[in-house]
Amino acid sequence: MVGKRALRFGTMFERVPPAYPPYETTKHNNGVNPTMSKKNASLQHGRLFFLFILILLIFFVFASLLVASQQRNLLLENEKQHDNLEFDLIGEFISESFLKNDYVAVRQFLQNWSEKREYIVTLTATAKNGFQFVNYTRKNPAENTYLVKRRVSFSQDNYLDLEIANDLASIENIINELNWQLLLIFSIIMGLLGFILWITLTKIALIPLEREISKRTEELRQHRDHLEQLVLERTQELATAKEIAEFASRAKSDFLSNMSHELRTPLNGILGYAQILRRDKELSTQQLDGVNIIQQSGQHLLTLINDILDLSKIEARKMELYATAFHLPNFLESLAGIINMRAQEKDTTFIYEHNNALPSGVEADEKRLRQVLINLLGNAVKFTDQGTVTLRVSVLNDTPPTPKKIRFEIIDTGVGMTPEQLDKIFLPFEQVGETERRAAGTGLGLTISRQLVELMESELHVKSELEKGSTFWFDLTLPVVTAEAEFKSSRRGEIIGYQGKRRKVLVVDDKHANRLVLHGMLKPLGFEVIEAVNGKEEVEKACEIHPDIILTDLVMPVMTGFEAVQKIRQMPELKDIIIVAASASVFESDQERCKIIGCNGFLPKPVEADRLFCLMEKLLKVEWVYEDTKTETIEESSEVGQLVPPPAEEIAILFELVMDGDMRGIRKRASVIEQRAPELFPFARKLQSLAKGFQEKQLLALIEQFKEGGK
């Protein structure tokens, strides 16, 4: 048992960590020079001495008080005893004298005795019968007296009651005198004792103690040093770990960026050529469908890449908002146009409601706001097969001063969600709904949207009911600024050329495919396209041919686009030339850098033809020639959501095809209708989409609507 316990203790001691002192207590010992510590020691000694003296003094005062009071009582008692002793003698004398009946002698004696003792204030001697045998009173009375009584029996049945009142003052005087003497003696003794004690304490007791303390301090210091060493090591380890982690994180970011860049480059080819091919009038419907699928798949891939990149940025907290001033009504209308197109492809009505109080100019990150809205609206359209999708934008605070609080609501009458689903929708890669709908997204949209809304210092709310629909909304507080309505580049049909002199375009890219895409987009419109494969060539060709516009890649061998642009800008004759950077880079910093070195615009890759044309229109001031200018007005005037039906004979053919259940035939017919007139395009698209989904009932309803209308 004992052994066990000992063992346990032993292990316990081993396990108990050394009691490290708090950092502060040892701090001053560290690196303090010896004179300082000496000073400290003397200071501590001084304090100790002061404390010692104080304790001594308190003790002294208490002792004095105690002794004084004790002394007083003792003296008083002593005095009484003394009186009693005297009384004994007197009593004997009295008895003796009374035996001889010498009363006079007694009387005389007591009188004389009292007179001789100055402290006696009164003395009375009263016989048994009450006779006052002696009644002595001192001439000067006293304030305080104490009584001493004694009965002296002098015969068998007679006695004298002696009563002496002694002056307390005289005794107090004696007490005071005694106290002073006592005080003096006490002081001397205490002083001596204190001195001896002090010497003993400091020279004998404290020195080993100090030695012990310094030993302990040394131990503690070693412990602390050890601890510091440990901490240092751990810190280094942590720093290394952090470095590794940061490196990994950076590597991940770099990887993602690079991957994104690398993925975009081939996508540029795919999407570019899909766009170019779509413009080809020679293509059959089947071929067009294929091209469309290529474009849609590419677009999907691009969205996927963009979403992943955005999410990784958000997770790395690298996502930043770049607020710019823009025209809110225009922005919303263009958005509405895009969504309306998508809605028309399905049997869904899109309604854009806005209130008149909308400010024209606001300041926000346009790109990200668009991203959020398109995402939410896209989802709404995706999950609504029949019914309506509404974008409602309203100003919450109608008071004039800025900023305005604006609510964006996206309401659909689609499938809706269960509360369980609602809980999951904001999680990354979570998709709800049927499998076929899932295929159409990355599952990152809502996650990103919510994060972006939070970045905009708001919150994305959602309420939903299964089979009834969902509502997403968020409120943004946006500063109101004056912003002019930008030139509205709306789709007015196919661009087939431009007016004015022939423009020279220098396309610089180290990748052949990329050059070909731009070539394929611009050449048919009548531009003279010159190509260069790197920055060096770019500068040379620019000098040589003086192009109207340079479309340059940024990352290239031999000389980068950045260097080339800088060089070109340094040349006086080329400094006003229009340069647009076209890059798959996803770094906002690159875009900023482009602006700084003197690029007039930035074109993200994969290149969107519309975006390119829009940019060229703005920078080169070219006036586009559209395929058919007449239809422009028709489409312009047509209300959103209103389909223009084909002629009655086409409706009749379609009706027959639907009745036969010939979906392929409907799709072929739709292609034919599409070719007939641009205003029929939405109708044709809708036919295509419904036929693709084999939605016979909807097809029949659509056609019957116009058939009857036609009647």
Partner: protein, 282 residues
């Protein structure tokens, strides 16, 4: 004058201590001795009689010294044996003196408050149940000195006359002096006591009362002895009687006793009454 006083004082002191033979020699040669009975302390007596002694020394042919006897009895003996020249005596000792040693030349008697007799009283405590002398039977009684006139002989006679004899008292005691008697009664040690009038007066308010007054007795007397030159006796009587008129006379007399108002001639018959009492008592 002061030198003389000092001288006298020393001389008296010496006399007190000196053997009688030397004193006799000195008396014969140089001094008249004035004897006093020890009714007070020697010192007190010296103070009281100094003025008288000085007066006599100045008027007589030889200086006069004071001699205080050790006891009343020795005083009588000294006077009777002519070992002093002049003496101051109480009435009872005088009667005794005459009885034992025969007649001595009388000089003068004192007058107290104009009277040459004095009274004594038998006293009891104020609240005492004793109403008559007869009540004293079976009670304690205090006398002064056995030789005292007023604290023993006279009151004892008075008691006897009232039919109360000493053996009839439960106890009685001689307690030296008048003051002791009064105090003894006051303290309750004795039911009754005998004191002279002036002592009673002093304590009258302290709680005593008079049971009965004694008959008046002739007061103290100055006598000469046969040693004193007889041819100078008349001169001595004159000197005493002159004190009544002497400018310092009153001071000299009152210093002996405050109540003394004068001196007057004296005859042996004046003491017959007392002689009678004493005879009866004895």
């Amino acid at each position: 004058m002061q030198k003389i006083f000092l001288y006298l004082f020393l001389a008296t002191f010496l006399c007190l201590l000196a053997p009688i033979s030397i004193a006799e020699q000195q008396n014969v040669q140089k001094y008249y001795v004035f004897g006093v009975h020890p009714y007070l302390t020697a010192k007190e007596l010296l103070e009281r009689f100094t003025l008288l002694v000085n007066y006599l020394s100045a008027e007589l042919d030889k200086p006069v010294v004071l001699r205080v006897a050790k006891t009343y009895a020795s005083h009588i003996e000294l006077v009777g044996n002519n070992q002093v020249d002049i003496a101051y005596m109480g009435p009872a000792p005088y009667v005794k003196l005459v009885k034992n040693y025969g007649h001595k030349p009388l000089i003068a008697k004192i007058q107290v408050k104009g009277q040459s007799t004095f009274q004594g009283a038998i006293i009891v405590a104020k609240n005492s149940p004793i109403k008559t002398l007869a009540d004293l039977r079976g009670k304690g009684f205090a006398f002064g000195s056995p030789n005292s006139t007023m604290s023993h002989f006279v009151p004892r006679f008075v008691l006897w006359k009232a039919g109360v004899t000493v053996p009839q008292l439960s106890h009685y005691k001689f307690i030296k002096n008048h003051d002791n008697v009064v105090l003894g009664v006051l303290l309750g040690e004795f039911e009754a006591g005998a004191v002279k009038k002036d002592v009673f007066n002093r304590y009258a308010k302290k709680g005593i009362k008079v049971l009965t007054w004694t008959p008046p007795i002739t007061v103290h007397v100055f006598v000469a002895t046969q040693r004193f030159p007889s041819q100078k006796l008349d001169k001595l009587r004159t000197l005493f009687l002159e004190l009544n008129n002497h400018r310092k006379g009153k001071t000299i007399l009152t210093s002996i006793k405050k109540s003394i108002t004068g001196v007057t001639t004296v005859k042996d018959e004046d003491y017959d009454e007392l002689r009678n009492i004493l005879q009866t008592v004895e």
